[in-house]
């Protein structure tokens, strides 16, 4: 049972397969949830014909992708054209080895000393598939989409990485399990690192080419961007990689800022020790908590998509380089000052005050409309 072979090869593989299947089910479900929710947001129905409330759409879509005709453009660079959809899938799947889904050691696949850096490294290679696919299609719109995506993903990699630094400084580790264990004895990191949390949210939307930042596939400018020439299963692979990366980024968000599999702060509530006392059930409960949190962030992705209009390309670059990166650097500076002063707990007030201000802004009583429209409007 505990031979080295079992310990190093068989159990990790089994765990990885389970995590992989869970994630694939989530990806398939997410496709349906996104379309239904977008329908809700835009006051229309969304897919509702196949099965109860359109639930069988989850199966109908892959079947459609499998049966569609697979078209390869005559002038495409064949090898690169086939590699394009497959390359981004590899890092998107490997990353799930490194994410702690539940209390260790049973519910994590591997635990690496530099886990967070490895995840960053793997996610940063996802861009190759998009560039390669865009270039190999031999279509100027595809190429434009691929180039845009390269510029965008390399640019937003910087605030993405910098926003994590503050968390690392507070927790003092690159190991995701240690970061979660730190958060359950202290506050969840979104309180002291609310700025970093915000930057991470924006950067992960940009990394995944999601709607306010979906310029690589802007349909009104570039037909469909880098996947214009892709049909059937190859297109499905691009979508699969994108949704997998969305789930990876949501997992990172939950692990870094929202306490991972725990449901408690300051050592109170469902912490790792409490979950461990419950045995196997506690582990499954922790995993369920983790998955629920991840799904909440997936819903936020959809919410973003329904709410914000698309940026222009220079606006996107401006936002990344002139706002996000200085903000992230400032956040690191402020965090360092608080840590040097030994007053890390004072930083919680930053989070509490900013959440309070946001709530006040959201729920403030609406001002009375001016009596005659057209007279007062836009006086300034």
């Amino acid at each position: 049972m505990n031979t080295p072979l079992m310990h190093y090869l068989v159990w990790p593989l089994v765990k990885f397969l389970i995590a992989f299947i869970i994630v694939q089910v989530l990806v398939a479900a997410m496709n349906w949830i996104e379309r239904r929710l977008l329908g809700l947001f835009q006051a229309r129905l969304g897919p509702n014909r196949v099965g109860y409330k359109g639930l069988l759409q989850i199966i109908a879509d892959p079947v459609k992708f499998l049966l569609k005709e697979d078209i390869v453009p005559a002038s495409a660079e064949k090898v690169a054209y086939f590699l394009g959809p497959i390359l981004p899938l590899i890092p998107a799947f490997i990353v799930f080895c490194l994410i702690p889904f539940g209390p260790p050691p049973t519910f994590t696949v591997t635990r690496v000393n530099v886990g967070l850096l490895l995840i960053l490294a793997l996610t940063s290679t996802g861009v190759y598939g998009i560039i390669l696919g865009g270039w190999a299609s031999n279509n100027k719109y595809s190429l434009m989409g691929g180039l845009r995506s390269a510029a965008q993903m390399v640019s937003y990699e910087v605030p993405f990485g910098l926003s994590i630094v503050g968390v690392l400084m507070i927790c003092g580790s690159l190991d995701l399990v240690t970061i979660v264990r730190y958060q359950e004895t202290n506050a969840w990191n979104f309180l002291p690192q609310i700025v970093a949390c915000f930057i991470f949210l924006v950067a992960m939307n940009a990394e995944n080419n999601r709607t306010p930042f979906d310029l690589p596939e802007a349909e009104s400018e570039l037909v469909a961007g880098y996947h214009t020439e892709y049909s059937a299963m190859k297109f499905a692979f691009f979508m699969l990689a994108e949704f997998s990366m969305m789930i990876v980024n949501s997992c990172l968000m939950v692990t870094l800022f929202f306490g991972g599999w725990t449901l408690g702060m300051f050592g109170i509530g469902l912490t790792t020790d409490v979950l461990r006392h419950m045995g196997m059930f506690g582990g499954i409960l922790g995993t369920l908590i983790f998955v629920t949190k991840v799904m909440l962030f997936m819903l936020i992705y959809v919410w973003f998509r329904a709410t914000f209009p698309r940026f222009r390309f220079d606006q996107l670059m401006d936002l990344g380089w002139k706002w996000m990166i200085p903000l992230a650097l400032g956040n690191i500076f402020v965090t360092a000052i608080f840590i040097l002063a030994g007053q890390e707990r004072l930083m919680y007030w930053i989070g509490i005050v900013s959440i309070g201000l946001a709530a006040m802004y959201l729920f403030k009583p609406k001002p009375k409309r001016a009596a005659a429209p057209g007279k007062v409007a836009h006086a300034s």
Binding site: N113, L117, L120, Y128, W135, L147
Partner: protein
């Protein structure tokens, strides 16, 4: 097991490096260089430096090679025919390169074959490197950051001037 991993990835690194040098399409060259860098990252893990392996993938594969591919595609270089190198130059290049390589190998085999590694684990986690970097190497670190700033300004100046001229021309 370790030796199998080493020889497999060493072969991958060398083969893809050869593709970089011999293939005439720069896009294929850039992609094989990425593969070669990945194999080197595995070597770093074998050398007990997983931190630098992650950095290698982030910096080289994630940023520098994307930049190379970006420029190759932006300039559409795969259609520009590369002129054939003169046979004399090719012959001289290969022979002097081979001579240089053989010399290197000779010196490694003669002087750099160590009997055994020192005992004990070699601690190379992020904490050790970070402390070293910000205590003993603080001055070089600042110099490198100034160098990077200079590189940003230089790159902007070099490639930005073009567009100003083009706007002024018509």
């Amino acid at each position: 097991m370790e030796f199998a991993i080493f020889f497999f990835f060493a072969a991958v690194a060398v083969i893809f490096a050869l593709v970089v040098v011999l293939h005439r399409n720069p896009v294929v060259g850039a992609l094989s260089l990425v593969a070669s860098f990945f194999a080197l990252a595995v070597m770093y893990v074998l050398l007990e430096a997983p931190f630098l392996a992650a950095l290698q993938v982030i910096v080289y594969a994630g940023a520098i090679m994307v930049l190379f591919l970006f420029v190759i595609m932006l300039l559409n270089l795969q259609h520009v025919a590369e002129p054939v190198t003169r046979p004399v130059q090719q012959f001289l290049g290969y022979t002097s390169g081979a001579a240089f390589g053989l010399g290197l190998l000779y010196y490694i085999v003669k002087y750099a074959v160590f009997a055994k590694l020192p005992a004990g684990p070699f601690v190379t986690d992020a904490r050790t490197i970070g402390i070293k970097l910000f205590e003993a190497y603080v001055f070089p670190f600042e110099m490198v950051s100034i160098l990077l700033l200079a590189a940003i300004v230089g790159a902007l100046l070099l490639s930005g001037r073009q567009y100003q001229k083009r706007e002024a021309a018509p």
